[in-house]
């Protein structure tokens, strides 16, 4: 179990992490989500003793990382953003060094090395030089290193960055397996990844914790933004009037397109989207107007993420007038969100 309390890290004037507090329980997979530069790596570096904190405490199983670092570090396996590998060694030599440094000796060392080699599936390359290995294998060697000494908590900093899709899937599978026997905390800026793997998500933005919840609960937060897009041949005013009869709609923006049709963006907080689209359909059909396109978009975790990380009050301007770097949410082109729901309610009707 990890308790982080009031963690603050300042680099000179710049605050990388400010007053972060959370608690991580045993035996789950936690996703650490945030745009680049939000303070994910900084927080992880502090939690693993690689970096000091300006203020605050981190306790691992009750051991303070600053006061009894060795006891605390024994309970953590850490894979930094860039796997810390000695390139001119083989994975076996490397793991032997890490194991010895973690206090393993003799038969126990050999047993654990073969166990993690098997677990991370690096048996084929265990005698090659690390410099000759692909990125995916290097990442596995890095994870193998973190697993030595059988720590309760595994912390992985962006383990899938820079890998090809196949390798990403393999690493995700590995993370999932690890989650059965360890507490895993991993950071990512890929939403779908976190959504699929994690029991709990921590979203961090500008060094602050903005959300800490289960993925489903986070989605519920944005009920109001289920979106329906409609294209019709009715003029904007008439279309809006027709839609007044649909009670579930919360917002309606009509716009005349260049081809003379009207595009409408509708919002609803009703989760039964098909029920709403049926009403829309009959409203137009009743008035003898054609519904040329109708597409639905459910609020996704991505929207929650964007909302949480972008719609924040801008940080106080620093005294020297230094401009904060433009805040960018780096998200993968929405993979799983839109396509599934669109194209369901398309219809062309003539009365």
């Amino acid at each position: 179990m990890i308790e982080v309390e009031h963690l603050t890290k300042q680099y000179g004037e710049h605050t990388a992490v400010s007053d972060l507090s959370f608690r991580v329980d045993s035996g789950r997979i936690y996703g650490f989500l945030g745009p680049n530069g939000a303070g994910k790596s900084t927080t992880m570096n502090i939690m693993t003793g690689c970096l000091s904190a300006t203020e605050g405490t981190v306790r691992i199983d009750g051991y303070d990382i600053f006061e009894s670092p060795n006891e605390a570090k024994r309970r953590i396996g850490y894979l930094p953003e860039q796997p810390p590998l000695y390139l001119n060694e083989s994975p076996l030599e490397y793991l032997r060094f890490v194991g010895e440094a973690k206090g393993l000796r003799g038969a126990e060392l050999e047993r654990q090395i073969s166990a993690v080699v098997e677990q991370t599936k690096i048996g084929d390359v265990r005698r090659k030089r690390i410099s000759a290995l692909s990125k995916g294998y290097r990442q596995r060697v890095g994870i193998a290193q973190a697993l030595l000494g059988n720590p309760e908590v595994i912390i992985l900093d962006e383990p899938t960055v820079g890998l090809d899709p196949l390798q990403i899937i393999e690493i995700r599978t590995l993370v999932k397996e690890l989650g059965q026997s360890h507490t895993v905390i991993f950071s990512s800026h890929i939403l779908s990844e976190v959504q699929n793997l994690c029991d709990q998500i921590l979203i961090i933005s500008r060094g602050k914790l903005v959300a800490f919840d289960r993925p489903e609960n986070l989605e519920k937060r944005l009920l109001g933004s289920n979106e329906i897009t409609v294209v019709t041949d009715a003029p904007p005013a008439e279309a809006s009037a027709l839609l007044d009869g649909v009670a579930e709609l919360t917002d309606c923006a009509a716009e005349e397109r260049a081809d003379g049709l009207t595009a409408l963006r509708l919002k609803t907080d009703c989760t039964e989207l098909h029920q709403v689209s049926r009403e829309i359909f009959f409203a137009f059909a009743g008035a003898g107007k054609a519904l040329l396109e109708l597409s639905l978009k459910k609020a996704s975790l991505e929207d929650v993420f964007l909302e949480l990380t972008e719609h924040q009050e801008p940080p106080a301007v620093e005294p020297d007038g230094a401009e904060q770097p433009e805040h960018q949410a780096e998200t993968e082109p929405a993979e799983a969100t839109e396509s599934a729901e669109t194209a369901e309610g398309k219809g062309e009707e003539e009365p």
């Binding site: 680099y11 003793g49 970096l51 000091s52 010895e100 440094a101 973690k102």
Partner: protein
């Protein structure tokens, strides 16, 4: 600590480093032995070591340039920080590995006086006394090298600075004799050194107040001392340099005297620079 030491040793013998280092040291000492002991037929092995001591300018950087700089460049320092070992253990483990690599060619060198003793009169106590001093002096220079390697992530830079520092140390006494030995000349030279020290502190701590404070305090103290008693400063610079120079103290051993204060000085230098290396690594956690 043992794990780090073993790991480093494996690294040195995997790569050419240990071999290049040993070969270089043995070659230079071999040439020296040929010139002094064989050609000139002098039975004192000390002179060979005195001749060879300049070899440290080359071999110490070979060994120490990568020791901490490479960890930083490869980002493996992250691993060291996250392992349940202290920074002191890391630095000591690495230093012990360096000493082990250094001791291997020295063990070979230890045979030389015995061989020469077969063919003539060799006074072994001074020979072995100076070999011991040679070892401790090299160890002190390596501690300096380890520290310089901790300052940067660029091996080449670490090597360059180490060469410059060792060369400066080697020639510092003769150089300081070129500077006017008048009291005022010494004052100016010492002031320059104080200001350089200030710059060094600023580079290491990024604390401008502290750096300029130290430099200013030293300059003022020197000026005050100069006003009180200017005769004290006559010939002071060469004297100070002689005290600080690691090589100058080695000459005592070459002249056949086993100087315990010099050994203590070398050990203090080792301790001081290893401590600085640990601090330099620790500082990176607090940047």
């Amino acid at each position: 600590m043992i794990a780090v030491c073993k790991h480093e040793l494996r690294g040195y013998f995997h790569s050419l480093t240990a071999y290049v280092f040993g070969a270089f040291l043995l070659a230079v000492v071999g040439v020296g032995a040929m010139l002094y002991n064989l050609q000139a037929a002098v039975s004192n092995f000390e002179y060979v070591l005195s001749f060879s001591s300049l070899v440290f300018v080359v071999i110490v950087p070979i060994l120490t340039m990568r020791v901490l700089a490479e960890e930083r460049r490869q980002k493996t320092d992250q691993l060291l920080y996250s392992l349940p070992i202290t920074t002191t253990q890391v630095v000591l483990g690495k230093y012990l590995a360096l000493l082990a690599v250094y001791l291997i060619p020295l063990a070979v060198i230890c045979v030389y006086p015995l061989i020469f003793a077969q063919f003539g009169e060799v006074y072994l106590p001074t020979s072995y006394g100076s070999i011991f001093a040679f070892f401790v002096m090299g160890a002190a220079l390596m501690a300096v090298g380890v520290f310089l390697s901790s300052l940067t992530e660029n091996q080449g830079f670490a090597a360059g600075i180490t060469i410059a520092v060792i060369l400066f140390n080697y020639y510092s006494v003769s150089l300081s004799e070129y500077i006017s030995s008048t009291a005022f000349g010494s004052l100016i030279a010492l002031d320059v050194l104080a200001i350089l020290l200030g710059f060094l502190i600023r580079y290491l701590t990024r604390n401008e107040g502290l750096a300029y404070g130290v430099a200013l305090a030293l300059v003022l103290a020197l000026a005050a001392a100069f006003l009180v008693d200017s005769s004290m400063f006559e010939g002071l610079l060469p004297a100070v340099m002689e005290q600080l120079s690691l090589f100058e103290r080695f000459n005592t051993f070459v002249n056949g005297v086993f100087d315990v204060t010099a050994i203590v000085y070398y050990l203090s230098v080792i301790g001081f620079f290893l401590l600085l290396s640990v601090q330099s690594m620790e500082k990176r956690r607090y940047n």
